[in-house]
Amino acid sequence: MAATYEPIATTTLGSSQSSVTFSSISGSYTDLIAVFNGSNDGTTQYFLQVGNGSIDTGSNYSTTVLDGNGSSAASGRYTNDTVGIRADYYATGGGNKKMSIFQLNNYSNSTTYKTVLVRSALPATEVVATVGLWRSTSAINIVRFTCTSGYYETGSTFTLYGIKAA
């Protein structure tokens, strides 16, 4: 059988950046997986924004969060969000290593809102699972990792994969 799990693009930051964008994403896959591995300055949470043609910065995102911080578990909700789908629950200090895997199933269909699952590991502070919604039936062909007012630190790696179903 043909390989169905393919790398689409990757970048490693040579300097700090507030966002990283993958654009012109082909619609030929069934699912996308977006991966962040690195650190940010911790002034804000970090997020994944999506769009069709351009990044949607409207209040069309929402997220439900499940978090464990070593002493307690918590759940939170964000509605009518503009910042994107949330990957973590607490903004934590710069230099702390973090990684997140975003699952964007059926990202290219034009009939359903897009639901995104996220697993994040922030070993210094928390472990997180989130589910997010982009309230649009448009196909996703652009994604952006963003820290809003903060930034991703040098050496952080961002990768996009595509999965094809038979």
Binding site: Y5, R77, T146
Partner: protein
Amino acid sequence: MTPIISARGGLSSQAYGQFALSGAGGSFESIATVSVGSGGTSYIDFTSIPQTYKHLQIRALLRGQAADTAGQSWIRVNGVTTDSYSWHGIYGTGSSVGTENSEFSSKDAIYSQFRHSSGNSTASVFGVGVCDILDYTSTAKYKTVRTLSGYDSNGSGQVRLYSGMLLSTTNAITTLRIQDQSGSGYAQYSHFALYGIKD
């Protein structure tokens, strides 16, 4: 395609190749896919699963048809319907955290593995789930599954992490059934894909 990577602050470049996740590349293969058409379907069956992989992964986009605001789905292994399953899970509702285990449900399948929207949910909202089944061909181990799933409806929703196990047999897995626990089936545009992962 031509992937263009850009960043606020001026970075703009093209990049290819380089991947890091295990399972990426030639070892991850599509086995079967079900796209639910008009009228919906009662359940999803994956049968005659090839025994040539090391692990399985189910990737789902799903919405139930029951007249509820949310639903959940079980997984049945090899058609076993006796009281042979165990599962545990943790979930977040947006305001509280809960846990669940098999002591509170019947045991003819691995219940509660997928949380998703249903017939009375906001239109166009679907749940998503990713389920891993390790060493499914082994005849020496009970079979364990792990599922991350959930849905969000801009004011309601749930994310959950569940695991489960078939306890009565160590037979290799050859069939899997996924079914909405309401029995009302899945709506059009639901999509289930089964993948095999090689060593």
